[in-house]
């Protein structure tokens, strides 16, 4: 794997303005993504993990430029694409594609599979050697669908097959980078592995680079090279997969990891469970200091006032925490695993 970055994201920020009243005055902002920095090397898979509402989709949509960043820069293949206009983006669209979360929502119910997977060629005006139909059928075959189902409609397929159609569409233009937004979270557990296998096989066959979004660490355990963990708009930890899974430095990563099922019974027994209480706070008015302090069992006064900076613990492994985890350290949590922050709102402590 080359280490040359295909994608470099620096200080990426998205604030959705909240407007009220007749004059549509801005009264606040949803701070969906705040100052996120990472890069993705050619041919590798970066997983972005975090609970729902942490800004993963927003990050993915900025990379694919479905959304315009509020601040920060996105370099793709050495080129600044942060504020390209719709017209300037058109040629770039061939290189950066997205797989959407909901296979029931991402395929137009009024179009046949042929129309859906053929759209990339038509929109980009690409001439194919044996016509669009052949190209579409080849792509369908590539993702494991029956090419004869060309004239079928999305509702005639199961969830897993629909997600394959979405994958076929994203592959049609032979992109370099694919952002896959929770590509299997809407699918039956029994189907998830098949789709993940397919994505992995396509990657080695076509030399793709992936940014894969997931809401827990178990889904991306095997397919990722590196893992980034997001909490409430911030990237709180990033590093090589092995490093992050074996020695998590951020308490939030540790909590997420403790929820990953382990097949091995011996290890399962002495494993600690950390159960976070409450939901992710609102990104309209995020907690000051470390945004995790309202749910972190290790929080102290400094966490409330000072924003922790990303610190490198091992080559490429960084985490933002005032009291980082030390390998082997046990979390001070209740016997049932419930972790409560000293700064949690009182209604959480006394349910």
């Amino acid at each position: 794997m080359s280490t040359e970055p295909l994608l470099t994201v620096t200080g990426l920020t998205k604030h959705f303005p909240i407007r009220k009243g007749l004059l549509q005055r801005q009264v606040g902002a949803v701070q969906a993504v705040d100052d996120v920095t990472f890069d993705v090397a050619k041919g590798e898979t970066l997983a972005i993990v975090g609970e729902s509402g942490c800004g993963k989709t927003t990050t993915g949509r900025m990379i694919t430029r479905l959304l315009e960043p509020t601040a920060g820069t996105i370099l793709f293949d050495g080129r600044d694409i942060t504020h390209l206009s719709t017209g300037q983006l058109r040629p770039l669209r061939r290189d950066v594609q997205m797989i959407f979360q909901d296979p029931y929502n991402s395929l137009n119910p009024r179009h046949t599979v042929g129309t859906i997977v053929g759209a990339p060629y038509r929109i980009q005006g690409i001439k194919t050697e044996h016509g669009i139909k052949r190209a579409v059928q080849d792509t369908l075959e590539l993702v494991g669908l029956n090419p004869e189902h060309y004239n079928r409609y999305p509702h005639e397929f199961s969830g897993g097959q629909r997600q394959r159609i979405g994958i076929a569409r994203s592959l049609a233009l032979k992109p370099k980078l694919i952002v896959a937004d929770e590509p299997v979270s809407a699918l039956d557990v029994s189907i998830q592995a098949q789709v993940i296998n397919l994505l992995e096989d396509l990657q080695s066959e076509l030399g793709l680079t992936y940014v894969v979004i997931a809401h827990d660490l178990s889904v991306v355990r095997h397919m990722s090279d590196r893992v980034g963990v997001m909490y409430l708009g911030n990237l709180v930890e990033i590093g090589d997969r092995m490093s992050v899974y074996t020695t998590p430095r951020h308490p939030y990563t540790k909590a997420l990891l403790s929820a990953v099922p382990i097949p091995d019974t011996a290890r399962r027994q002495n494993r600690e469970r950390i159960r976070l209480v409450g939901d992710v706070p609102s990104p309209i008015d995020p907690p000051a200091g470390c945004r995790f302090h309202t749910r972190c069992w290790k929080a102290t006064e400094v966490c409330k006032s000072e924003v922790p900076k990303l610190v490198e613990f091992a080559p490429g492994h960084r985490a933002a925490c005032h009291h980082p985890e030390v390998p082997g350290e046990q979390a001070e949590v209740a016997p049932d695993g419930t972790a409560i922050s000293p700064f949690a709102s009182p209604d959480l402590i006394e349910p």
Partner: protein, 329 residues
């Protein structure tokens, strides 16, 4: 090309809802809706009545030639002048084989012929007024929903204003001052065109609101994002991605707007500001019959004609909505 998955696609345990791998041609949602509609007896009953009504309207001269007498010809010999009631001679309003629905009191015109000819006016005005509303409403609704921002705010306020407009009062005033000749048209033709414009122009916000709402929700669907991320431009997204998903709601609400417009035209003609006598309209016939309140019999025929037509459209429209509604699946 090899399939790069270790599990062959046929082994996908995830069942495809359609049986028979040999069926290559897919069934569109429209075809599925049509099958569902055909099983709906009430809606199909409505549809049969509507087809019958349209045939009657189209072949009115033929039907009247066979089964009636010219609709505007007074036949005073059929009226009881001796007693001065001016009612038709004979039982049941003068019903006979020559006059299937009897004749009008006062001048003895053949009610059957007038009902048949009246269907032309009703359907013509209601249909074209609806077409006009749908055209304006769809255009405005799609623009408001898709462009958003101040354009949406402007169009939405415009719709509010139109909906608050006292349409009936306005129509009465306008029809009252309407000249006999304008735009190279005159007589009935001019009034028909004017009525189509008045009714159609003021009803567009009903369709407009529905289309705007639908556009707003379709625009948020991920397949639109998928098109954007492939580099599609706005016109393509509107025409190829959004409009096909608007066809069903537009069809349903058009079918439900037609009967409203039939009632509206009937009301205007009843009030004397619609199509002018002696041309036969259902509303005008009701108004004529209203002079004989002690003999409700004469109101029965135009009343029934309006009632059956409106009911048929509504039953069909409701069935259509159920057939096209994906949640009903």
């Amino acid at each position: 090309m090899t399939v790069p998955v270790d599990i062959p696609p046929q082994a996908d345990p995830d069942p495809a809802p359609v049986a028979g791998e040999t069926a290559i041609q897919g069934r569109s949602l429209g075809q599925i809706a049509w099958r569902r509609l055909r099983r709906d007896k009430v809606a199909m009953g409505g549809a049969i009545v509507l087809v019958f009504l349209m045939l009657v309207a189209i072949f009115a001269p033929l039907i009247v030639g066979l089964l009636g007498t010219p609709p505007n010809d007074p036949q005073r010999s059929l009226i009881d002048r001796a007693t001065g009631t001016m009612l038709p001679k004979g039982e049941y309003g003068g019903m006979s084989l020559d006059h299937l629905m009897g004749v009008e009191p006062g001048n003895g015109r053949d009610i059957f012929s007038r009902i048949v000819y009246g269907s032309r006016i009703s359907l013509l005005i209601a249909f074209f007024a609806t077409l006009l509303s749908v055209t304006i409403g769809t255009t405005m609704g799609v623009i408001a929903g898709y462009v958003g921002g101040w354009v949406d705010a402007f169009i939405s306020r415009l719709m509010d204003i139109f909906l608050a407009f006292p349409l009936l009062v306005f129509a009465i005033a306008l029809a009252g001052v309407m000249p006999d000749k304008a735009f190279g048209l005159e007589g009935d033709t001019l009034r028909i065109v004017m009525l189509i414009f008045i009714i159609g122009f003021f009803n567009w916000p009903y369709i407009g609101r529905i289309v705007r709402g639908q556009t707003l929700s379709i625009r948020e669907r991920e397949f639109v994002d998928a098109a954007v991320s492939l580099g599609a431009r706005s016109p393509r997204i509107l025409v190829k991605e959004i409009l096909p998903n608007l066809v069903a709601p537009i069809l349903v609400y058009s079918t439900l707007l037609i009967p409203t417009n039939i009632l509206f035209e009937a009301a205007l003609s009843f009030l004397g500001v619609g199509i002018q006598p002696p041309t036969a309209t259902w509303g005008g016939m009701l108004s004529d019959a209203a002079q004989y309140t002690s003999h409700l019999w004469f109101m029965f025929w135009p009343g029934m004609a309006i009632f059956i037509t409106v009911l048929a459209f509504n039953l069909f429209g409701d069935g259509l909505r159920d057939a096209l509604d994906p949640r009903a699946r």
